[in-house]
Amino acid sequence: MGARSGAPRGSEPASAVTAGTAPVLEVEDLRVRLRTPRGPADVVNGLSYTVGPGETVAVVGESGSGKSVSVLALLGLLPARVATVTGRAVLQGEDLLTMKPERLRQVRGPGAGMVFQDPMTSLNPVLTVGRQLVEGIRAHGDVSKEAARSRAADLLGEVGLPDPKGALDRYPHELSGGMRQRVVIAIALSNSPALLIADEATTALDVTVQAQIIDLIENLQADRGTGVIWITHDLGVVAGIADRVLVMYGGRCVEDGTVDDVLERPAHPYTRGLLGALPDLARPAVDGVVPDLATVPGTPPAPTDLPEGCVFWPRCPVRGDARCEHEQPPLVQIQGLDRHFGPSGLPHRAATWCTEPTSDTGLPASGTGSTALGGDR
C-alpha cells in the first residue's frame, strides 16, 4: 500500500475534566413530559450529566430514546404548550430552565450554539450566508456592519469554506450539503459559545464529509476550549470524538462513563446489544465466514408506553434478576466489573440489575478488533 498521505486526526481533545475545573454545563435530573394525543409521554426521565470545558460528551441512543428532546429542552426549544420540563441545567452559573425567555434568547448565541442534522432547516433559504452570519454576530454584540462582515468571512475561512469572501454572497441552496453544514457551524461558533450542541450533525453527510466536519469541530474545540454535546446514533462516530458517553434508552440514561469504558467494557445489556449489532469493519471474518450480527430483538418502546421496571427488560436477552420486571434499576457505579473507575478516574455507571462480566455474552470481545485492524495497516 506504501505511502499513504494521511493527515493526522485532530489533536486529542484536552482531557481537562479534572475535578478542579468548573463545568460549562451541569444538568441535574432533567425530565421532559410531552402531551400527545395518546396521553402524556415521559420522553426524558431524570437525566444528569456535566460537560467540562473542552470536553465532548456523546449522547447515544436510537430513535425515540429522548436524546434530541433532552437538548431541545435545555435551550427552551420545545413548545411550552405541549412540553413540561423540570430539573436543573446550569450553563455558566445560570439555570437555563428557570431563565426568562429574553435572557434565554441572549444565551443561545454566546452561551450555547447548536448544529442540527439538516443544515437546510437551520438556514434561511432566502437570505445570503453572509447576511445570516452578520445578523447572528450583531445580535449579540455591538459591532459595526463592516466589522461583522469581515468577522463572518474569517469564520467561514476557519470552518474551511473555500473562498470565504465569495461565499458570503451565496445563498444556501448554492452550496453543497457539507458546505452548508460548515456554514451552520460557523453561525453556531460566531459568538464563541462555551457550549456547542451537535444533534446528529453529520448523520445526513457522506462519511468522507463527516470526517472533514468531525476534524473541524475537534480542532476548533481544541483551540477554544468549547464544551461539546454530540448527539448521535452512530457508535463509530462516538468512538472517534467523545471523551464521555451517555447511552440513552426509553428516556433514561442506562449507562455512562468514559468512551473507553462504555465502548470497550459495556455493562448494560442494551449497550452490549447495540455494539454487537454493529457490522464492524475491524472485526475479521473467521475462516472466511463473517458471523451473523448479534441482534436486539424487537423495537424500542414508545415514550407513551414505557414498561414498568427496567426500561429494557422486554427486549433484554439477560433478564438475570427477579427485579427486572418490577423495579427500576438505579444508575450506579458498576460493581464486579474490572474496576470501579476507568483509567481517567471517572465513574462508569449503569442502570441495570444484571452486571455480570462482559466476556460470556458472545459480543465482540473488546480489544481483539483493534489488533486485527492494526495489523492491516
Binding site: 486526526r9 430513535s63 463527516q210 470526517a211 446514533h233 457508535l235 457490522p279 464492524d280 469493519l281 424500542p300
Partner: protein, 345 residues
C-alpha cells in the same frame, strides 16, 4: 465463468437532461448519473455496491431492473436484454427480479393491508389461483421473513420500521425471484433493527439461493453482507473485488479514503488511526472531470490522470480490479475538442 453470470451490465449509461436554473438558463446540460458501467453479478453471490450520495448507485440499481430507463449500453438478465425486452418478457423479469426499497414507511401503500401488499405479485403473475391458496402463500412468506402470519390483515401504520421492511422483503420474494436489488434497504432503520434485517437478508440469500445486489452508503454493512464489493464514484465503478480485499486493502485512492473515513466503534483504534481527509466536494455529475473522474480530489494525482480515462485493471488480490493509473496507465485517452470536453469543476 460466463455461465455463472446472472446479470451482465455493459457500458450502461443513464443520462438525464438538465434544464438550466431560473434566468441563467444555459441550455440543456446532461447529468451523467450512470456513465459507462460494466458489471457482472454472479449467480448466488451478494454483490455490495457502495458509494456516496450522488454517485449513481441507486440509479444503477433501478436501471438494472429497468425501473428507470437507461440511455445507453445493455443489461442482460439470465440472457435476456432487459433494456429492450417488452410485454411477456418484461413481466417475467419483474417476477424473477425484485427490489427492496430504502424507506419502509414510504414503500408500502398505507391503504392496503400487509396481505394485499404481499399478495400483489401473486395476483399480477397468476402464481396462486384462488384466495385460499394466495392467503396460505402470504402466510408462508410472512413466516419466511420472521413475521407472525396473523398480522396479514393489518395496515402498515401499525408496524415499526423494521417490521415494515420485512413486509417489503416478503413482497419482493413473493414471485420467487432469483435476483434481489436492495436499495439502501437498512439506511432508515435503527442500529439494532439494521442488524436484524442484515441477518435476515443473509439467511434468505443462503436459504433461497438468491443473488443479491446490496446497494448502500455504509461500507461496514456492505462489507458484512457481501461476497464482492463494487465501489462507485461519479457514475462509474472505480474498484471491484472480493469483499475481504476491497474492505481491508483497497487499491483505488478513493476507496482508501472512504474506508479510512468509516468510523469504527473502538476508541483506542480511532485515536491512532490515520484518516485520509479528501479535499473539497464530489464534483457535480453534470460536470464530470475529464480523464480520471477522481483526479480533482485525489491525493496522488499525476500526469496521465488528466488525459486518460482509467479503465478497471487487475490490482491487489485475485479478482480485485481498480480504475487507477497508479497500477499502470490503462484506459481511453481523452479527446480534446476546441470547447474542451468537460467543464472543470
Amino acid at each position: 465463468m460466463s455461465s455463472d453470470v446472472l446479470v451482465s451490465v455493459r457500458g450502461l449509461e443513464v443520462h438525464f437532461p438538465v434544464r438550466g436554473e431560473g434566468i441563467r438558463k444555459k441550455g440543456a446540460g446532461v447529468l451523467r448519473a450512470v456513465d459507462g458501467v460494466d458489471l457482472d453479478i454472479l449467480r448466488g453471490e451478494t454483490l455490495g455496491l457502495v458509494g456516496e450520495s450522488g454517485c449513481g448507485k441507486s440509479t444503477l440499481g433501478n436501471a438494472v431492473l429497468r425501473l428507470i430507463p437507461s440511455t445507453g449500453g445493455s443489461v442482460h438478465f439470465a440472457g435476456t436484454d432487459v433494456t429492450s425486452v417488452g410485454g411477456k418478457g418484461l413481466r417475467e423479469l419483474r417476477r424473477r427480479a425484485g427490489m427492496v426499497f430504502q424507506d419502509p414507511f414510504a414503500s408500502l401503500d398505507p391503504r392496503r393491508t400487509v396481505a394485499q401488499t404481499v399478495s400483489e405479485p401473486l395476483e399480477v403473475h397468476g402464481l396462486r389461483s384462488g384466495r385460499r391458496e394466495r392467503a396460505a402463500r402470504v402466510g408462508e412468506l410472512l413466516e419466511l421473513v420472521g413475521l407472525d402470519p396473523a398480522v396479514a390483515g393489518r395496515y402498515p401504520h401499525e408496524f415499526s420500521g423494521g417490521q415494515r421492511q420485512r413486509v417489503g422483503i416478503a413482497r419482493a420474494l413473493a414471485g420467487e425471484p432469483d435476483f434481489l436489488v436492495c436499495d439502501e434497504a437498512i439506511a432508515s432503520l435503527d442500529v439494532s433493527v439494521q442488524a436484524q434485517v442484515l441477518n435476515l437478508l443473509r439467511r434468505l440469500q443462503k436459504q433461497l439461493g438468491l443473488t443479491l445486489l446490496f446497494i448502500s452508503h455504509d461500507l461496514s454493512a456492505v462489507r458484512h453482507i457481501s461476497d464482492r464489493i463494487a465501489v462507485m464514484y461519479l457514475g462509474r465503478i472505480v474498484e471491484i473485488g472480493p469483499a475481504s480485499a476491497v474492505g481491508s486493502d483497497p487499491q483505488m485512492p478513493y476507496t482508501q479514503a472512504l474506508l479510512s473515513a468509516v468510523p469504527l466503534p473502538h476508541p483506542a483504534l480511532e485515536r491512532e488511526r490515520k484518516r485520509i481527509v479528501l479535499r473539497g466536494d464530489v464534483p457535480s455529475p453534470s460536470a464530470v472531470p475529464s480523464g480520471c473522474r477522481f483526479r480533482t480530489r485525489c491525493p496522488y494525482v499525476f500526469e496521465p490522470c488528466d488525459d486518460v480515462d482509467p479503465a478497471l485493471q487487475p490490482a491487489g488480490a485475485a479478482g480485485q480490479q481498480a480504475a487507477c493509473h497508479l497500477h499502470g496507465v490503462v484506459g481511453t485517452p481523452v479527446e480534446r475538442t476546441p470547447e474542451g470536453v468537460t467543464a472543470e469543476p
